[in-house]
């Protein structure tokens, strides 16, 4: 069995770079748009807030795998992008909707008085959001964001339906070739566990580091 692992593990790890890229890019782009949409949701005024709200509701209402397929078959037909980018962008869009909700919730946790105090010393609305509300909301956002990161790590496996060879796809190839699915899938499970565990631990540490002294 040890012999077999020597072959199996490197084979599966060939998909690791893709798994990490998909996760990292989707989370990163999702963070940027999630932040923008979350802020607009709270401060964007009625119309903008409503539009963002509808987008978020639509994304949250659909299975991720369905969105992946829709985006792939729609967008990839219009503009020429690879399966990798199509799938990654789909996951980024999905994550941005969830992250927008995280940002919204985190902003609402910051008391209204903070904004008023900032405005009372002459800060503009944007300055108050940026220098006073966001730094505090950021701290509230880390625990739910850690949860979202764990979800996106595992959602990265969905790109395999589009034929992108990430670790789960590699495991599937391996088991198809060797008829040994159990070991292959267990290895993948171990990798997902380690990735998620390390990410959550890292974010826990960040949360502790930037905790406001009391």
């Amino acid at each position: 069995m040890f012999q077999e692992l020597l072959i199996l593990v490197p084979y599966i790890l060939r998909g690791l770079e893709i798994t990490l890229s998909v996760t990292g890019i989707a989370l990163g782009i999702g963070l940027f748009f999630g932040l923008v949409m979350g802020i607009l949701r709270v401060y964007g005024g009625r119309v903008v807030s409503r539009v963002v709200g509808i987008f978020v509701a639509a994304i949250r209402a659909l299975p991720h795998i369905l969105l992946l397929l829709i985006i792939y078959f729609l967008i990839a037909r219009i503009i020429s992008i690879s399966a990798f980018w199509s799938a990654t962008m789909a996951l980024a869009i999905i994550s941005s909707a969830y992250q927008a909700e995280i940002v919204r919730g985190a902003i609402l946790c910051v008391s209204e008085g903070q904004m008023q105090a900032a405005r009372s010393i002459g800060m503009t609305h944007l300055q108050a959001i940026w220098h006073v509300v966001i730094p505090q909301a950021f701290r509230h956002a880390i625990p739910p964001w850690s949860n979202e990161a764990a979800i996106v790590i595992k959602d990265s496996s969905l790109v395999y339906v589009l034929g992108v060879p990430e670790i789960l796809r590699q495991a599937q190839y391996y088991s198809a070739r060797t008829y040994k699915p159990f070991l292959a899938y267990l290895t993948v499970a171990a990798i997902y566990f380690l990735l998620t565990f390390a990410t959550n631990r890292g974010l826990d540490a960040l949360e502790r580091r930037i905790r406001i002294p009391t």
């Binding site: 008023q116 105090a117 505090q136 406001i212 002294p213 009391t214």
Partner: protein, 250 residues
């Protein structure tokens, strides 16, 4: 210049309603330079709303407000710029929770007044010293007592060199033992000639420090006058009844 004749705050026929609830029903008042005005009245009568309409944190439905001869209710006025010089102190302190005392005071200096960090730091330390909290500069709000928080909040406002200070029940959230240290700071300010409008039920402060007590009820100014008159011999029985009640308590 101790003439105290310049009008710093002028409010004209201010109206504000929340739904069908009329909170301000045509308030007019003037506050001159160096004057300390205390607003009293039962809760829910619009005292805080009046303060917040002065610096436009709350938009009045009708009426006009001038501060230092600039009309704030004019839509073309840069309200952010005007607010720089209208200090406000809140009942719940509203210190920036993620910043220590020093940064709470210097944040506005850096981002609003455009000071460099070093200058802002020195200025902030000076303002903290003024409220007796230089030694707490590195402390976060969570590490300060209520009285200390409120003094930092006052320093934060003072750093912006306000032409008028608005106090919205600055001691109402404090333990009785901590009220004194805040009142001392406010009293010093008054002595230095700061123009102040204070919503407070600290009748001792009103008697010793203020030049005028304004009694509000149901969104109207019912009666106003010097502390001597208002506390001993007001015109209206209702004023006497209310001020008598809070005098007993404090």
């Amino acid at each position: 210049m101790a003439s105290g004749k310049n009008v710093i705050v002028k409010v004209e026929d201010l109206h504000k309603a929340y739904g069908s609830e009329e909170v301000l029903r045509g308030i007019s008042m003037e506050v001159t330079e160096g004057e300390v005005v205390v607003l009293v009245g039962p809760s829910g009568t619009g005292k805080s709303t009046l303060l917040r309409c002065i610096n436009q944190l709350t938009m009045p439905d009708a009426g006009r407000v001038w501060v230092n001869n600039v009309e704030l209710t004019d839509p073309s006025t840069d309200i952010d710029k005007a607010r720089q010089h209208i200090g406000m102190v809140f009942q719940s302190f509203n210190l920036f929770n993620h910043l220590n005392a020093l940064d709470n005071v210097s944040l506005g200096l850096i981002h609003v007044l455009g000071m460099d960090k070093k200058t802002a730091r020195d200025k902030a330390l000076m303002e903290l010293d003024r409220v007796g909290l230089k030694n707490k500069a590195e402390n976060y709000p969570g590490q300060l007592s209520g009285g200390q928080k409120q003094r930092v909040a006052i320093a934060r406002s003072l750093a912006m060199e306000p032409i008028v200070m608005l106090f919205d029940e600055p001691t109402s959230a404090l333990d009785p033992e901590l009220i004194g240290e805040v009142l001392v700071v406010m009293k010093d300010l008054a002595v230095e000639g700061m123009t102040m409008i204070c919503v407070t039920h600290e009748i001792g402060f009103a008697r010793d420090v203020s030049k005028r007590i304004v009694f509000m009820e149901h969104g109207d100014i019912i009666e106003e006058g010097t502390p001597a008159k208002m506390l001993t011999n007001p015109d209206l029985p209702r004023t006497k009844q209310f001020l008598g009640k809070i005098s007993e308590l404090h």
